[in-house]
């Protein structure tokens, strides 16, 4: 039954698309059509909201300070998934460890900014805008929005019709994807992109009154294009039911699946954004943190597997960040309070795999907090330049060290 249905879809899209080879190729999986200046590269940002406890994520087990500051929350060394002689993954991050083994995971250590804010709002706004400063600092646009604005200036009239940035989820669009001139949209699910009625051949504009108008032709083509995309989406969704790629049934897993389906369907959107909430672990942290890290790792792994199977993994980079880390010393309620620096994850086959930057020292603290070892603005700059092909003008932090996030 399923097979028949798919075959029907195949045939019906052939009928609709007979005369439009370029549209077929646009919608076909792993098509290499791309926007000028963007090289068809795709960045998927996962926001780990609430302040992830980086110390219990990439655990510095060899650091004497670890056992000293983490009495109840200490993860036993033999359960950790060792990365090297001094640090290891949280035991729930099996999928992330697998990605690392495959050479597809970069872990940037100790990422932060000077004089860090412990306010969720302010710190998140700093990460979103790349404007470091207090609450009173003006932040109208986000770093991704600015990057897309710059790209857009370079390709004015480029005719990109899909949005520059898509938030997949039901949250309000974050500041990071707000911009002066680029388009960002929110999709709560793929049903927003599915035709409710089967795509029967649509009448073309030639039957209407204005056959020679370029606007009418544009509308006709856009409509056919949309119908094609809807059909391809439908197919991708069917394939996925057949089990070609397994995504976790978590909220993040489903969102990553949505993104994957869109990417595979030939969307030209370069930036996708998903929010993974719940990292504000002030009490009884162990079980919830373990669950969050498993959800995160499994979703990223499933996503990477899926794009790999589709043959487009070299166009993909996933970035997971949080607005701050937690305090080094646990609090009295088996949780941790707001801290400073933490790890940022980059996944992709072009990413420089392994530990990047230096591990913050638990013995060298400022007011009980970690000192950052990499300024996030350096990281953004590199992601923008090397990945998105866009110059991002950010104030260069003092004493900033050059980092290298991607394979040469």
């Amino acid at each position: 039954m399923k097979t028949n249905r798919r075959r029907f879809l195949d045939q019906s899209s052939t009928v609709v698309l007979g005369a439009m080879t370029s549209l077929v190729s646009r919608a076909v999986v792993a098509d290499d059509r791309s926007l000028p200046g963007q090289n068809g590269k795709i960045l998927v940002v996962i926001q780990m909201s609430g302040g992830n406890d980086g110390i219990n994520t990439i655990v510095p087990y060899a650091d004497e300070g670890y056992a000293k500051h983490r009495k109840k929350l200490r993860l036993s060394t033999d359960r950790l998934l060792k990365i090297d002689e001094s640090v290891g993954f949280h035991p729930s991050m099996r999928s992330a460890a697998d990605l690392l083994e495959q050479g597809k995971l970069g872990i940037v250590q100790g990422v932060g900014y000077p004089n860090p804010s412990r306010s969720h709002d302010t710190s998140m706004a700093i990460w979103h805008s790349a404007q470091v400063g207090g609450e009173e600092t003006l932040r109208s646009h986000g770093w991704l929005g600015k990057a897309m604005d710059t790209t857009r200036e370079a390709v004015i009239g480029g005719g990109a019709k899909d949005p520059d940035m898509i938030l997949v989820g039901d949250e309000s669009p974050p500041l990071a994807i707000q911009s002066r001139r680029s388009t960002a949209v929110t999709l709560s699910s793929l049903s927003d992109l599915r035709l409710r009625r089967p795509a029967v051949a649509q009448p073309t504009i030639q039957n209407d009154q204005t056959p020679n108008s370029s606007l009418a032709r544009f509308v006709d083509q856009t409509m056919q294009n949309a119908i094609t995309t809807a059909s391809v989406l439908e197919q991708n969704i069917e394939d996925r039911i057949d089990g070609s790629a397994k995504f976790p049934s978590t909220r993040l897993g489903q969102r990553m699946q949505t993104i994957s389906t869109m990417v595979k369907s030939g969307f030209q959107t370069p930036i996708y954004y998903a929010i993974h909430s719940g990292y504000d672990t002030h009490a009884a942290q162990l079980p919830s943190h373990a669950r969050l890290l498993r959800e995160f790792s499994d979703a990223v792994k499933a996503f990477m597997d899926d794009v790999e199977a589709a043959g487009i993994s070299d166009r993909i980079c996933v970035m997971g960040f949080s607005e701050f880390g937690r305090r080094v010393t646990e609090n009295g309620s088996e949780g941790t309070d707001h801290g400073t620096a933490g790890p940022v994850f980059l996944a992709g086959s072009q990413v420089r795999s392994g530990l990047i930057g230096s591990t913050p020292k638990l013995s060298d603290l400022v007011d009980g907090d970690l000192q950052m070892t990499t300024d996030f603005r350096n990281m953004y700059q590199e992601v923008a330049q090397k990945w998105l092909g866009t110059a991002l003008k950010l104030p260069v932090p003092r004493q900033s060290l050059p980092i290298s996030l991607f394979d040469a």
């Binding site: 899909d162 927003d192 035709l195 409710r196 009448p203 209407d208 204005t210 009418a216 856009t222």
Partner: protein, 451 residues
């Protein structure tokens, strides 16, 4: 008729080759409002172009004079139902504000666009919402967003100077463009820049120094307790140089200076032409002439709109069907044409659909507003439009379900055969006759995206 004798803006007069027919009347209603039903179209065919346009403008003027008198809302003189409309819309609007739920405010605006007797003013309000694009994403205050909307409506067809002063000196705009962060000695240039670049002059008609100096002059404008306030202690009273003038200017002086600038009228003329004309219809000469007329008429928006709506260019073949319907127009047009307003559709649902189709009221994407035109049509919104049509044809915009009944409409007009009914649906929805099929087939044609 107060239209001057402008060479480029000759009024349209019916001729044998360009008669006043259903196609032109349909076009008038789609562009100046949100579409009309069969009875309204017939009424205006009989009335002729002069009276049909006058009717639209008179209703708008009535609204304006009531608005000015502080009564707000609709002209009571129209009909009894207009009074009902006014008290109902006030009820809905007030409830939205006290609920603090922006979705209810969107639903309120939909209610207005569906039911008010003055669609031109609603269309203009929508246009100004796009010109002074302010998003609740940052303002995060339903009362402020409603007040701004009411101000835009009140001045929608009045003097641009009044509109500018009202909207700029209002809390929503202050919050949106960071006026709170603009202090003496620590200027924030956000409002200053957008005021010149977007709201009045356009790029190229001011310098970066002007931006800095205007920002200084605007210090002191802020929001306290949800209201605009000029706090003297925050104001930089020093001497500024703005667009060639020198003085210890404040915000009001800045607005006076801007309103005197020559490029302003052209920018407003351009905005109006964007709203009423399709692609590549208006020549530079026509734009210049309209801008000149605006200057001569003290930036009277109503004068310019009347000039446009009466013009030959407005009713020309190059203009008809040469504009992408914005989502709101696309959504409301068939509801009005097919008389699907009694029982009423769910305005909350409509607001949700508008957002899916890319026009989330009170949430323009950025300071530029919605780019409009071809950019309304993307993969996502095309699929959304097709799905909206399905929902409409299955009656799902109503609770309980209430599908359109074209047969009943057609029989009322004396059309009894299926072919006649199809023809009626096609002329009603597209303004011309050659689209076969049922309502859904007609509305899913590419031609239904244009008007």
């Amino acid at each position: 008729m107060k239209v001057a004798n402008l060479a480029e803006w000759k009024p349209y007069e019916p001729t044998e080759s360009r008669p006043w027919d259903l196609r032109l009347v349909h076009h008038l209603h789609r562009r100046a409002g949100f579409g009309a039903n069969w009875g309204e179209l017939q009424r205006d065919i009989d009335a002729g172009p002069q009276d049909a346009v006058s009717r639209i403008l008179t209703v708008a003027n009535l609204t304006k004079s009531f608005g000015d008198a502080g009564i707000g809302g609709e002209p009571k003189a129209l009909t009894n139902s207009a009074t009902d409309f006014d008290s109902l819309q006030q009820l809905i609007g007030d409830a939205a504000v006290s609920s603090g739920d922006i979705n209810r405010l969107k639903a309120w605006w939909f209610y207005r666009m569906l039911y008010c007797g003055d669609p031109l003013t609603e269309r203009m309000t929508l246009m100004w919402h796009n010109h002074f694009a302010t998003s609740n994403l940052k303002v995060a205050n339903v009362a402020m967003m409603k007040r701004q909307n009411d101000l835009m409506r009140q001045h929608a067809l009045g003097k641009f100077g009044d509109l500018l002063r009202a909207v700029i000196k209002d809390a929503a705009m202050m919050v949106w463009l960071d006026a709170n962060a603009n202090r003496k000695g620590k200027p924030n240039e956000n409002l200053a820049r957008e005021l010149m670049e977007l709201f009045t002059l356009g790029v190229g008609h001011y310098s970066e120094t002007d931006v800095k100096e205007v920002a200084r002059a605007l210090t002191g404008w802020t929001v306290r307790g949800g209201d605009f306030e000029h706090v003297m202690a925050y104001h930089d009273g020093g001497t500024k140089q703005i667009l060639g003038e020198q003085g210890s200017f404040d915000g009001d002086d800045v607005l006076d200076i801007l309103l005197k600038q020559e490029p302003l009228a052209r920018r407003i003329a351009m905005r109006l032409c964007e709203a009423f004309f399709g692609e590549a219809v208006i020549t530079d000469d026509a734009l210049d002439e309209l801008a000149g007329g605006l200057r001569d008429h003290d930036l009277d928006i109503g004068w310019a709109v009347e000039t446009i709506l009466r013009s030959e260019t407005f009713f020309s073949d190059t203009n008809i069907g040469n504009r992408v319907h914005d989502p709101i127009q696309f959504m409301i047009g068939p509801l009005r044409a097919l008389e699907m307003l009694d029982p009423p559709p769910s305005t909350l649902l409509l607001a949700e659909w508008a957002s899916k189709l890319g026009q989330d009221l009170f949430y323009p994407p950025n300071v530029f507003g919605w780019p409009g035109g071809r950019s309304w049509l993307t993969t996502r919104t095309m699929i959304g439009r097709a799905n909206y049509v399905s929902a409409l044809c299955r009656g799902e915009l109503h609770r309980p379900n209430h599908p359109p009944d074209i047969e009943a409409l057609a029989i009322k007009q004396g059309c009894s055969t299926p072919a006649d009914q199809s023809k009626l649906a096609s002329t009603l929805l597209l303004g011309h006759e050659n689209a076969p099929g049922d309502i859904e087939a007609i509305l899913r044609r590419p031609a239904s995206q244009l008007g």
